[in-house]
Symmetry: D2
Subunit: 421 residues, 4 copies
């Protein structure tokens, strides 16, 4: 018969408390550096679980004001659980990672999507909107999320880690710091900044280390915002539970770290804190393909998507081209980012016709399983990008109608307590 | 009983010959201008067919050399059938266009995908590859395409018009010419050029017009390469047969034109002549929503995708970020175009491990139903873009394997008769 | 350049006229018999087209009465184009057939779905409904069908041959006639009959044959209504354009025949003349796998479905069990047919709440891309079968609402001119 | 910030121990009867969790012999957690149930699929195979299941309750007992029996009740094997997490009960213990539509399927007709059950060519996300049913190949310790 003895749970190798600041916990780091030792070690083939705090480390509360979003300490973000060493992995190998599951903590069935202030975090439209802090709290009801701050929608999560990667080698880290330093230098006074250099302030490692090692890591460790060759903060919604990812290995043991779990996210994650951010648990299984970097010409991770991503076949699709026709009308040269922005602004304008505020629309496009395709990227000078809004996430009909769109009242998302938007 | 009398075919309103140069035919134009009169007029609700030559107007042959691709006359491209006026459409309205079907001519069951020379047409990797002309001929076998120049693949077409749009108003045309003129001025000696100004050479209208009108159109008419606010050459693969598109109307009658039919295309259409280009027939039905531009905040077309687009659920996905790690390693600032290129270069490198030549891989990514998503576009400084290769289009297993990839012999695509690649 | 010379259409090997009775045309037969000679012969690898009349051979007209449906001559149905011999095929081989395309004639852009009289043809609910003739005419608009007789719906076709199969051997034919004869004997007076024995009346072969051969074929030839081991009238909607089918071969040359083309059909094809019946053109390519029957344990065809079948992910699903709770409440023993019927009757009752007549609902479930799954077939005594209605085919919202369903006015389908329903 | 105070877990209203026999636990019953009082009561709109033992109540162990399967006590199966009363529900209403999640217990990450003996439980092929007990243990790795007893496959679960329904009224219960009693009487000595009458032996209710009430329930309570008008053991794989189900209400409070959780199941669940049976947790939310039975013509539940069911687009499809061509060749009259069986036997024969044993193939078809469609159910005398095997669940290529199928060695599933199969 079924017994405890023949029923062995998959082990949890890193445990965290989602209600405690990340810098006070073991097994959480927030910089990338080859000298951060493995916190745990696994054998290929083992199934194991890793717990993660939310990307801000409990800075955001389940409430109806966005002051916490306004005041978030961005030096302490992207908390990574790990590193996890895999026995036998060596530089040049390919680390195969099965992302078997991604779930919220049972005790914390909610997440959030935020808009940052222009001057503290930004986001895709930080300048266009002169962004002020706002947020939506999402309640997790099984496979679905809903929000009291964005009524009229419910969607299934395409849950994934926003941030997952192997540790860089010293050489790779140097490359990153050099090239990003050059970019920063070229845009010295940008607001928000174009990139972030290494910074000791707010850094932590989650384990005891000699002071000199710690100091070196703090001084050189790459910041966590951008995705890079090792994976990192790629924020790819389809790297979801059920997917299989092939990572290049740069250090002995591979030293995989993971964090920034998302219950859901739209392609683009446009508000930056744009996914449904959550604390939770990720289940992994790994294997190693020797010399995989060479075998697969692996300059960045490959992956096989999951068969259980939400399927919403009916969509309303917005187009954008690389002309800033929502702004000053400037013609850009084959710039897919500008094209993406126009498509998103078209969608926001449409959602506002339906009665959503600009902030709600911005948050919704960030968090819902919106799909953005690069349509064409060769028709000079205009790249064309599309953004597809799934119809099935709305409990009301949003299709274009001869009589126009019905404007409903959806209130507003959580904003600052001083009422500034 | 079924009789001829009770069986009425949908009328073909514009007939063309796919084997005759486009400038010798009626009903074909290759510039955008408000003064090009409607060639035919339809009532809302009518189902009708429009025939189109291929985008080059029969310049490319079904053979095994790419000399025709090398020598293509790019002043005579993007041949548009039309304009089609819709009774009752006025500026500010929304023209609803059902793209009911897109098929090749029965007498011409083939198409082509081409790589242009760096100095004559270019393409996404024209500079990186110092491109020389190459092409693949695709045979249409019902819903599928195969190519003797790219063995081992077969895929269902997501057939669509690369180019479809309403006529611009004089004001909109002036805006286009101004902003693109500014861009050209700012990149005076670019190869390939960043954009193309109006040009009388190679222009035609497909109908009799007074000389002064013709001269005005030639002098001012917008070139057809980029997509713009009216639609145009958006090259969106999912604007396919079965989709419904909502266009803004800028002139009385809307004056819809269409051309550049594609049997299939990958997101991005990277080689520029990258779709499976074909001559063929498009079936339309239209309706008008009065004042639709205001009703739907319509700055560019919206559309509902088709339920019959090919479904290949299993995919291998490549990532790219806005660092030119296939080139000089430069860090770009949130540039989705650069990220797209890295993802595509990763895919090309992978395909070459399987035995395809670089040219074959480039053509295949252009033509097959590849999907490219904008993963994240806020993680400064790196945009992240993915490119998904459907596994089901290959008749061999392309998945990463522990033993590596099996390199097969696939020959080469059609290249120049002088053998230069 | 593109020329006629380098553009060769796929040949049409059997041409028919959809407006002429089938028994007056060459290449059409309506019985299965090994002695019907091949009408044409193809080589493996050739792409070719076969034209087909509609399954009744032009008996049904595009009009607004169902008298033709009432009076249909059922001895002259299921007209098959063929046989097509494939060079090299021998008994025991597997004939691989690519169904590359299935389209209506351009000159006949319509089809029909019919309900037969109880006493002339029947249908799944012939007895329950005491069926009188009715029909819906469907207009083909590219990939879509709509009907003036069933307003409020539009759907993409999953076009396929209802009837396709290889010729039986003499032994197989004898087996069929024996087993079906036994069934008929056991249900001597059933209305409608449970099966149909060979019948010379109404039989034809479509080619010149010696009288004795013809007489033998007429006397023994299997009727075309049921699907059998060779394929035949399986009416599987997913054996659609783009699918690949593996048939067992029973006679030299395989002798493939095809007919009863459907623009669309729901799982079950419940009204019997339940698909959208059309005349049209099917495009094939074949190959042979020697000894495939043994290699694949092939007692009946296998197939790979098409990537281009319509995708409607949102559905409303009805359940049925093997209790006739719409009738006398009788408990059946694990009978999936009874369960299917209850699910369909539940759907009909629901559609009637929306305002459709029973006849419209019956026709719609027959013709639209409805999916019926066998849920469970082991929970004695009740089989459970589901029937899924795609939401995306309706232009109005059919979901259950707190306020109930909105009953609209949809008129009625075409009925008999005497008004009897 | 995120705190315990602002993070409230969804309450678990019924807790069970998956390692303790069901008849020793509170809140578990195994008969349907209107007099079983609600065990818990919820308000509409609440999200809550219910724990369930596996359907046998811990009788089956995680080991490599099938003796427990052979000896299973079938009077103690289909353990139901509940009843759950919903405030305000009354007979004639519709109870809307959101199945928000279905997961295994973290401490019991495995399940099983079994074949019963012919004389103890049976199954679809119990007689054909003269079934002896066998089983496969499945390990849950996040969204996937794999089995050491059926190597070479891995698939995502379409997790659902096999058994869910509202309580019957006294009238409905009487109807069930009458009609099933009649069937039993008509098949008095069938092995396995065609249905099961009420039976006091093995019955339990999970709560304290007066003896006379208990005796009445034991004497009259409907057995749990078949699905019925209230839902019940429908074993519909797509009634999965993320689906919304509309149940008719027959008693005050509706009194919903649930059990027999399945990690995965194929359409048909052919081996009877054919799903991947598991103990686990189901998350619900309910609402009430007054008078919904009338509003929606609700004779049996309706449902909206989930957007997160696994998507495997590539399939190999087997056909079956209502002729027992795997057995005595008998012709049946439009019997979809016989047709289903032929399709399944064709699939089993194919899988055996690949090297799986008959028992492995039988278990795999039962447990994997196989889809079975009713192709046609009107082509007298042959119903046609298809069974689709998803290609993506295999780690090896199972497609038909010119060279035939490669037979591998996959061992055997768990069988009886005496070696009898």
């Amino acid at each position: 018969m079924a017994t405890k003895a023949n029923s062995v749970a998959h082990p949890t190798l890193i445990e965290v408390d989602p209600f405690v600041p990340a810098d006070q916990q073991k097994g959480i780091h927030n910089r990338w550096h080859p000298d951060i030792p493995a916190f745990v070690t696994v054998k290929p083939g083992e199934v194991f679980k890793i717990q993660c705090v939310d990307w801000t480390g409990a800075q955001i509360g389940n409430n109806d004001f966005a002051d916490d979003m306004r005041d978030v300490d961005l030096t302490k973000i992207h908390n990574l659980s790990g590193p996890v060493a895999v026995e036998g992995a060596e530089p040049g190998d390919c680390l195969v990672v099965d992302i078997l599951d991604v779930t919220p903590f049972e005790k914390m069935p909610w997440g959030y999507t935020g808009i940052f202030e222009l001057t503290n975090g930004g986001g895709l439209f930080a300048r266009e909107f002169n962004s002020k802090a706002a947020k939506a709290i999402w309640d997790f009801e099984g496979v679905y999320a809903t929000s009291r701050h964005i009524p009229g929608v419910r969607f299934a999560g395409v849950s994934h880690p926003g941030l997952i990667g192997t540790a860089p080698s010293a050489e790779l880290l140097a490359t990153w710091n050099k090239r990003e330093g050059d970019l920063i230098a070229a845009h010295a006074n940008a607001v928000p900044p174009v990139a972030l250099p290494p910074l000791a302030q707010g850094a932590y490692i989650g384990q005891e280390l000699p002071d000199d090692v710690r100091a070196k890591i703090y001084a050189e460790g790459a910041r966590t915002v951008p995705g890079r060759e090792h994976g990192g903060n790629c924020d790819i919604k389809n790297l979801s539970k059920g997917s299989r990812c092939y990572f290049p290995v740069f250090v002995k043991g591979a030293n995989l770290s993971v964090g920034d779990l998302h219950f859901s996210q739209g392609d683009g994650e446009i508000s930056f804190c744009g996914a449904i951010e959550m604390a939770g648990i990720i289940t992994f299984k790994t294997s190693i393909i020797k010399n995989g970097v060479e075998k697969f010409a692996l300059k960045q991770p490959l992956f096989l998507p999951s068969p259980v991503d939400p399927l919403y076949s009916a969509k309303l699709i917005f187009e954008g081209i690389s002309v800033d026709y929502h702004g000053d009308g400037k013609q850009y040269n084959m710039d897919a980012t500008v094209a993406y922005k126009q498509a998103a602004l078209n969608a926001i304008a449409y959602l506002m016709k339906l009665g959503y505020t600009r902030e709600q629309a911005y948050l919704l496009l960030s968090a819902a399983p919106v799909e953005s395709h690069v349509g064409a990227i060769v028709d000079s000078p205009n790249a064309c990008v599309t953004l597809a809004l799934p119809l099935g996430i709305f409990d009301h009909d949003i299709l274009p109608k001869e009589e126009g769109l019905t404007k409903k009242e959806f209130g507003q998302c959580a904003i600052r307590s001083d009422g500034v938007v």
